[in-house]
């Protein structure tokens, strides 16, 4: 009977959760949809009445403008080969008679120098299934050479340095700067993961989506609505907190009441992560979303040149982290949170409202993750999987510091941030996450409780 009573409420709660996400993102959806090719058939070369087609789309990353006059060749099974040129809308539609795997290669020689260079894979392999029309083949042009992976803060450092090769300080110091900034951003997200784990025992695999949510809100407010950056950051903070609250109310609280064990809860968070991530992609498309930023140097410290956001966002991070630390150590609710994290039953027995503490932890975790997402938007373009791609680094930071210890999460984040950026001195930059993940595994072998954890926690 008990299970039956919760059923309708849970289903509606779940619906409400997705309704919230949809509602919160619908503005961005409208704007993103107007940018996606609703009208491509009009201007593009008509692919006759072919049952399938490939939509080649070439854009400039910086201002998201479409690039016309770029040549591309599509080759495929049965000797299929066709060369097209993009129209004014940056699209070229190629009719495909037979489903199969096709290769789209952009003719690099046709790219004007002003548009920079092609970024990402070229040629690109596109799978065309039966009746799939306008299968997308995106190509991004960019003047910035770096690939957009998280932690690739494409600017501090690399100041113009005309005399000979870089010195050791010129190699290390910019990386220390980016590493620390990235570590602070990770810390914002990691503290939420750590608090949620500490109070509820849940490893929240959907935490990355809270980060992405913040990044998308920041992009919508600053990039689409053209409001000042601080408005976007505050909006992301508030929206992230609201999302955390709605998630707890609509999903996690009913599941806790139902007595669902921790492993199923973890799998629920994976399902939620998958659904949310692709909901973002559904609304915003697979492209990169650039939050406007002033890229001129604001401060120069030796070989490290910093933009104004490189200075302001660590300051924001440090202030927020100090505030969190103060709340945790000095205030009543902070002490209650630590008591719940330490021993839930004992805390409940001594009169602490555990449910209220958990609710506050979800709101705070969501708000911090949202803030982290919005700030990440100033270092790299956000997209639908920004948060998911750093989730494992967040876990690594939390594990390194000690699962469930808040200050451990901070230290772990800084170590991981530094490690990710400094490791690129020795290993190829696309493997920089590997170093951080390896360190996490090694820590688990020798000190599974982490740097600040206590042995009893590993059970």
């Amino acid at each position: 009977m008990k299970a039956l009573r919760y059923k309708p409420r849970r289903a509606t709660a779940l619906l409400a959760l997705f309704g919230f996400v949809l509602g919160a993102l619908v503005i961005g959806g409208a704007s993103a949809a107007s940018a996606t090719p609703g009208t491509l058939s009009a201007a593009a070369v008509s692919p006759a009445d072919a049952p399938q087609s490939i939509d080649i789309w070439i854009r400039q990353q910086a201002d998201r403008s479409n690039v016309a006059g770029i040549g591309a060749t599509v080759t495929g099974p049965g000797g299929f080969s066709q060369t097209v040129t993009t129209g004014d809308d940056g699209h070229a539609l190629v009719g495909i008679a037979n489903p199969g795997s096709y290769t789209v290669e952009v003719d690099v020689a046709t790219i004007p120098a002003a548009q920079g260079a092609l970024k990402g894979v070229n040629p690109r392999v596109v799978a065309v299934s039966a009746d799939n029309k306008a299968v997308p083949a995106y190509f991004i042009l960019s003047n910035v050479a770096a690939t957009p992976t998280p932690g690739d803060t494409n600017s501090p450092g690399q100041s113009s340095n005309s005399d000979g090769g870089p010195t050791l300080a010129e190699i290390i110091l910019p990386r220390v700067a980016t590493g620390l900034i990235f570590g602070l951003l990770l810390a914002l997200a990691a503290i939420g993961v750590s608090l949620i784990y500490g109070t509820t025992g849940l490893n929240n695999f959907a935490h990355g989506e809270l980060v992405t949510f913040g990044g998308l809100v920041g992009y919508m407010v600053s990039g689409v609505a053209h409001l000042p950056g601080w408005v976007g950051i505050i909006a992301a903070l508030l929206a992230g907190g609201a999302f955390g609250y709605v998630q707890d109310l609509g999903l996690w609280k009913p599941l806790r009441k139902r007595g669902v064990a921790l492993i199923p809860l973890m799998i629920v968070s994976i399902g939620l992560s998958l659904a949310l991530r692709y909901l973002y992609q559904f609304i915003f498309g697979p492209g990169l979303l650039v939050t406007p930023n002033d890229s001129s140097a604001f401060l120069k410290l030796g070989p490290v040149s910093l933009r104004s956001t490189d200075v302001s966002s660590p300051i924001i991070c440090i202030l927020v982290l100090l505030l969190v630390a103060f709340l945790l150590v000095r205030t009543r609710i902070g002490k209650a949170t630590r008591a719940v994290a330490d021993n839930r039953s004992l805390a409940a027995a001594s009169g602490i409202n555990v449910e209220q503490v958990i609710r506050i932890v979800w709101v705070a975790g969501g708000a911090l993750a949202g803030l982290a997402g919005a700030l990440i938007g100033y270092y790299q373009p956000v997209n639908w999987e920004t948060g998911a791609s750093i989730l494992l680094l967040i876990f690594a930071a939390v594990t390194l510091g000690g699962l469930g210890t808040t200050f451990g999460a901070l230290i772990g984040s800084l170590v991981i941030g530094l490690l990710v950026d400094l490791s690129t001195i020795f290993i190829p930059s696309n493997m920089k996450f590997v170093a951080a993940l390896l360190v996490m595994i090694i820590i688990l072998i020798f000190r599974p409780q982490g740097i600040l954890g206590r042995k009893s926690r590993i059970g």
Partner: protein, 324 residues
């Protein structure tokens, strides 16, 4: 309107992808369903097995049996590397380490520096020659109602399903043996089994190896008719496998196999219906927006399954409480 997407969906039953996922899901059921190991890195086992097979076949020209042995040995080594540090720890540590290790494998094989061996982001083509050389089927077109196959396509489908059935029978017998009772005992109460004098860590390791080898072999079935693509072995592959075993029943042998068939047929059906609706302008989304929908469906299905029917289609509710 064109309704041939229904045949297309039904033909998923014979697709090597379905067969491979059934085998990998069976391996994951050994880990998660039978032993209670929270392995979130099954995609890593699949990648390691697949690369071991593809590299030894295409680069070193090893015969089929030797490349298969390499696949098995690769999976075993990966299981040992993962298991030794983590099997003594609590379940959620294993989950984080396995998911991290799987991503390490994927990042590593994609590194341009070793792409002469691993093919980088493009993966490896052409590991099917030694397998197709053993094909005894006459060279004609085979019409099977749900699709027409040439002799190579039919050969991998037959061998694939035979492998899955043999593996399922072996696992069924194993789980009825004393060994199976011990690993199920570990799932229910590790300390109780330990107090009976059993070496729990070693049994968990055997289970990790067994399921991992099945995952490695699964990739061989998937890549023979197509190619090995590193990004097919990201975290979402593992999550697909969890959806599959929870759909069919994680604590059963039949569950992962039927789960895989249902999973891919339903995904293909939903793709077909969506394409139909989109191309006839019946729903207001673009064909680009159509792509993410299948993943949203999988994510929501995974949540609902775990919450409302954790035992899946064939499972027994008493066995499926998965307490940590």
């Amino acid at each position: 309107m064109d309704f041939n997407f229904i045949t297309l969906a039904l033909s998923q039953i014979l697709e090597p992808q379905t067969i491979g996922y059934a085998l990998a899901a069976l391996g994951l059921a050994v880990h998660f369903g039978f032993t209670g190991l929270l392995n979130f890195g099954q995609a890593g086992f699949m990648a390691v097995g697949g690369y071991s097979f593809a590299i030894t076949t295409t680069q070193f020209g090893w015969p089929l049996w030797a490349a298969l042995a390499a696949c098995v040995v690769g999976s075993i080594i990966f299981a040992l590397i993962l298991g030794i540090p983590t099997l003594r720890l609590r379940a959620d540590y294993l989950s984080i380490v396995t998911i991290a290790a799987a991503e390490i494998v994927r990042y590593t094989v994609k590194t341009p520096d070793i792409s002469p061996i691993t093919g980088g982001s493009d993966g490896i083509n052409g590991s099917s020659d030694t397998f197709n050389a053993l094909n005894p089927l006459p060279d004609i077109q085979y019409h099977l109602g749900i699709g027409t196959y040439n002799k190579e396509q039919l050969w991998i489908r037959i061998v694939g399903w035979v492998v899955v059935i043999v593996a399922a029978l072996v696992i069924r017998q194993l789980m009825r043996s004393p060994w199976g009772r011990i690993v199920k005992g570990i799932r229910e109460d590790e300390d109780a089994v330990r107090s009976l004098g059993k070496n729990v860590t070693w049994y968990k390791m055997q289970s990790l190896i067994l399921g991992g080898v099945l995952g490695g072999l699964a990739t061989v079935i998937v890549i023979i008719p197509t190619s090995l693509q590193p990004d097919n072995y990201g975290t979402q592959t593992t999550f697909f496998l969890y959806t599959i075993i929870l759909l069919g029943g994680a604590t059963t042998v039949l569950g992962p196999i039927v789960g895989s068939i249902i999973f891919w047929v339903v995904l293909s059906l939903s793709d077909g219906i969506l394409s139909l609706l989109v191309s006839n302008h019946l729903i207001p989304i673009t064909s680009i927006q159509q792509g993410p929908i299948r993943f949203i469906i999988v994510g929501i299905a995974l949540m609902l399954l775990v919450i409302f029917r954790p035992q899946g289609i064939f499972g027994n509710k008493r066995e499926a409480h998965f307490s940590a």
